[in-house]
Amino acid sequence: MQTTKPTVSPENASAAENEHARITPRTRRKWLLLRQDIPGWLYRSLVTCSFLSLFVIWWWATEHELLNRIFLPTPESMLTAARGVFTEETLWIDVGASFMRVGAGFALSVVIAIPLGILIGSFRVFEALLQPLAEFVRYIPVPALIPILMVLFGIGEFSKIMLIWVGTFFQLLLMVTAEVRRVPQDLLQVSYTLGASRLETMRLVIWRSAMPGIFDALRLAHGWAWTYVVVAELIAANEGLGYRILKFSRFLQTPKIWIYLLVLGLIGLVLDFLFRSLNRRLFHWVDTAKP
């Protein structure tokens, strides 16, 4: 203040000081304003902090042996386990197998859920026919379906893929439906008055308008696919991340379990990031200022 305005009088200086005193607590409180943005550096350092403190708590807990080291291994033993796991071929076989199952089950969900969701969201007839049914199935816990799936499809690859399909399809269907319904009625009406037929309105307006939301629904449903692949592999499998975790637990190889969990978390994080950045790139036209 004083350096920029060298001619400041004593009264002004005290006024400026008062103002400064009045502003400082307010700027500090700004970080806790509802839904208000915070500076980027603060956001990034808070993210780092949360990971770092988790690490510190873990290190501290193992150092003082708060938990048996068999269940919560030390950072050093984790490091050796990681070195072992990442050099072994099995990890990549497991990742590949799980990826294949998630890919197949999820792709099957997507190709059916998107067209069907558009139909349900656009036509009351299809809504009446399918939505209550989908809601009903959605509430059946997926692991409870395992015996049925095994009876129906055996214990091979296909029943695992079907488990992922059941787990993601009905959720995704209802999310797509909701996105389609959110397309403003005015957009449909204006399309009709511009000469668009119903089919053209669906293809050129409903589909295009709902696309960003549907894409985000894919991101969420994709996460559940990874949950169900682990569930599927706990039953009967010869490879896969879930299968390997179960096997490690039989031999009490907890450090390796933790590494595999870490790998699962990382895969999720990377895929989520890819979905998000692809969404931003594909749908740059979305007006984020609008609710």
Binding site: P184, D186, L187, Q189, V190, Y192, T193, L194, G195, A196, S197, E200, L204, V205, R208, S209, M211, F283, H284, W285, V286, D287, T288, A289
Partner: protein, 277 residues
């Protein structure tokens, strides 16, 4: 172009009872008219517009445009909404030529020279409304007034017989609103299309129209059909001319009868006087 509306009515049936949105209404309209539908909010003037667009079906009566019965939406009757209805995934130019692109796909037999002239027309309309520098912008980059200008150009791309406008400037600030009125005035003088313009703003109706249909409060019906005596070329100065003000006062009296204040005006006034003395 002649539009014949005969005994047109719309009633809504619900569990709580029957609502008469539009009472039987009859009127005619000819080429080049700029007709404002003026009335208090909720009087059914928007419903009438929806019926003219073919977006809603009447309970009784009929609409004929050049002898053809109106029974659904068509590119002959373009519409501009109060909400912003640009397609956000298309640029300004793509939005404006959307109806032409539809036509190209619907009818491959059309000569390409004809299509090129129409596309050229869209370009020159965009230039006319001052959007030449924004043809490749997306709607999210535009102000409210600019969005509505694109919407008007898009509706005009089809060269519709009727241009239906449902409070198109209702969401704009006062200054932009006046700019848009001026633009609409000149566009109408230039394009000579027939316009139906829903508004509850008396001044807007008078300044823009060649004819004002005044609606009563719900259930809505036309209580007055007024020819506006000003020429095609109007100046914003017109709003201060005695003739304009006289008409405005007349319409105000029609729309807001003095005795119809829905709060205790005298009681409030008395209280203000007693506390201030």
């Amino acid at each position: 172009m002649t539009l014949k509306v005969q005994q047109l009515a719309k009633t809504y049936h619900s569990r709580t009872g029957v609502t008469h949105a539009v009472l039987p209404t009859t009127f005619e309209a000819g080429s080049g008219e700029f007709i404002s539908l003026l009335g208090p909010s909720g009087c059914g003037k928007s419903t009438l517009l929806q019926l003219l667009a073919g977006l809603d079906t009447p309970t009784a009566g009929s609409i004929h445009l050049d002898g053809a019965w109106v029974n659904g939406p068509s590119r002959e009757r373009g519409m501009v909404f109060q909400s912003y209805t640009l397609f956000p995934w298309l640029t300004v130019l793509e939005n404006a030529r959307f109806p032409l692109d539809l036509e190209i796909h619907q009818d491959y037999s059309r000569p390409s020279s004809e299509i090129l002239t129409e596309i050229g027309r869209v370009h020159s309309l965009l230039d006319l409304v001052g959007l030449d520098a924004f043809k490749n912008s997306y709607p999210r980059e535009l102000s409210g007034g600019m969005k509505q200008r694109v919407a008007i150009v898009r509706a005009l791309a089809n060269q519709p017989k009727l241009l239906l406008m449902d409070e198109p400037f209702g969401a704009l600030d006062a200054q932009t609103r006046e700019e848009m009125q001026e633009l609409m005035r000149l566009l109408h003088a230039h394009q000579k299309m027939t316009v139906f313009f829903v508004t509850h703003d008396i001044e807007e109706a008078l300044y823009l129209s060649t004819r004002v249909l005044v609606f009563s409060a719900r259930p809505g019906t036309i209580i007055e059909d007024i020819a506006v005596p000003f020429g095609a070329i109007r100046d914003p100065e017109l709003k201060f001319k005695p003739e304009f003000i006289r008409l405005k006062r007349e319409l105000t009296a029609l729309l807001h009868p003095a005795h119809e204040a829905n709060f205790d005006r005298t009681g409030l006034l008395r209280r203000i006087i007693s506390t201030s003395s």
